[in-house]
Amino acid sequence: MAKRIESLQIIENKHLNNDFFIIELKGNGQIPEMKPGQFVQVKVDGSPGTFLRRPFSIHDVNYDRNTYKLLVQIVGKGTETLSKLKKGDSLNTIYPLGNSFSLPGKGQRPLLVGGGCGIAPLLFLGKYLKKNGYDPDILLGFRSRDRIIEYNEYIELGEVFLTTEDGSRGEKGLVTEHPLLSSSRYDMIYCCGPDPMMKAVAKFSIEHKINCEVSLENLMGCGIGACLCCIVETVKGNLCTCTDGPVFNTNDLKW
């Protein structure tokens, strides 16, 4: 899967709420095959404070339309600048980057756990799991009822369980407090979200000997393994999030 650098046309920039938006990009030629968990490095033009590219997970791919989507949370200047891009603008991206989630063993039951912008890679992953004959359950955590995004997309992939921190919908609390987790119905957990969430899920998985993969965030200089800035300490030594990850098995992490 050769990496490429391309200026892609934005065919839609849909704002989900004040914090989240989805950019859909159209391939120039045929877009290459991509795998869930992979990411792209985006060049943010017109933001003087944003010198380096910004990494975003591949949220969804549509080979028929020849497009892929990024789900982005506005957290700083770079993402804010991206939020203002319009249909027809172009976005320079390097993609597809990184490794990807692995499929569960035959007949195993997968659970997807996500929160915040961590839900981004899980849609693509869920679709991929379904296509490969798995029936994922999905556990998503939000701050409150009105922060819930992409619910309709996930409901198509499997049963969706929700937690909200204020209890305004679903279970009250964090995803790790949801009874579903301790039901230990699952053989494989995929998790992406804020660090504390991933660490809690990893701890739970290790305790219950459930296979668990997380998609890590990290400061990235290059995204292609050249700068060695994005390391994560693993049992195999310092590995690069951008090439050895972003997906890691929690058994390999020093959490």
Binding site: A2, K3, R4, I5, K43, P48, G49, T50, F51, L52, R53, I94, L219, M220, G221, C222, G223, I224, G225, A226, C227, L228, C229, C230, I231, V232, E233, G237, N238
Partner: protein
Amino acid sequence: MVKLDFNIGDLNFKNPVLTASGTFGYGSEFDDFLDVSRLGGIIVKGTTLEPREGNAYPRMAETPSGMLNSVGLQNKGIDYFERNIYPKLSQYKTNVIVNINGSSIDDYVALAERINDLDHIPAIELNISCPNVKMGGMVFGTNPASTREVTKAVRAVCLKKLIVKLSPNVTNIVEFANIVQEEGADAISLINTLLGIAVDIHKMKPSLSTVTGGLSGPAIKPVALRMVWQVARAVKIPVIGIGGIMNAEDAIEFLLAGASAIQVGTASFIDPQTSVKILEGIESYLVNKGFNDIEDIIGFINKPC
């Protein structure tokens, strides 16, 4: 056709565009984006005798028009390099140069000797300017006596072309350039990163685990250009300019200031194709200005007008 090549001693480079150590991996990271063999040369990752894990996370921070890094020479050591990386590197049809690093003069000497045996490595870049290691590195490159000693020792054993990479964190760069020239360096490359810090005001902590790191990117270009200009006027050996080169215009500034060649560093992170774009840009500039040999513009700003 414009003449673009230049020589370090009898070593020919087909063009003046090289890539800077630590920013271009071992070349293969860029194979998807460009034909590495088109470049004048590549300087591969900083290499040490023993494997190194580098510094703790976080090792990087973004700054205005630049970045700080404190990678700290993470690499798998010369044995691994020789066995697993060198064979691939030998495929490239360009000058592959190894950037060598040590904690002691003995380390540097041992590395230089190891590289004597590698036929496809025509030159080494002696890095006495890494700000991100406690022992060695910049400690050598900011002290005239140590600079002399390490250069002399390596020169004594090194059968390859010897490029010495200078640290910009000094009062008088020309002093250091003269020393390495006296001790037999074949070329000088500069600048390595400027020592800097950044503070995370939310966490109220330094942004890097090591507090200080090396500043690279366009922010340092004016300082790099100044030092290249100073050194190129002082020494007779070729000078390779490095620091914040993002495009052909930047590269040409360095050539006009006196650099015989340039290295592309941080820019490759933002656009992995920067180096070849620069190559093409330099060529068009020469054509547009009516020069047919790049030699004609090297140090042009020093000519009386």
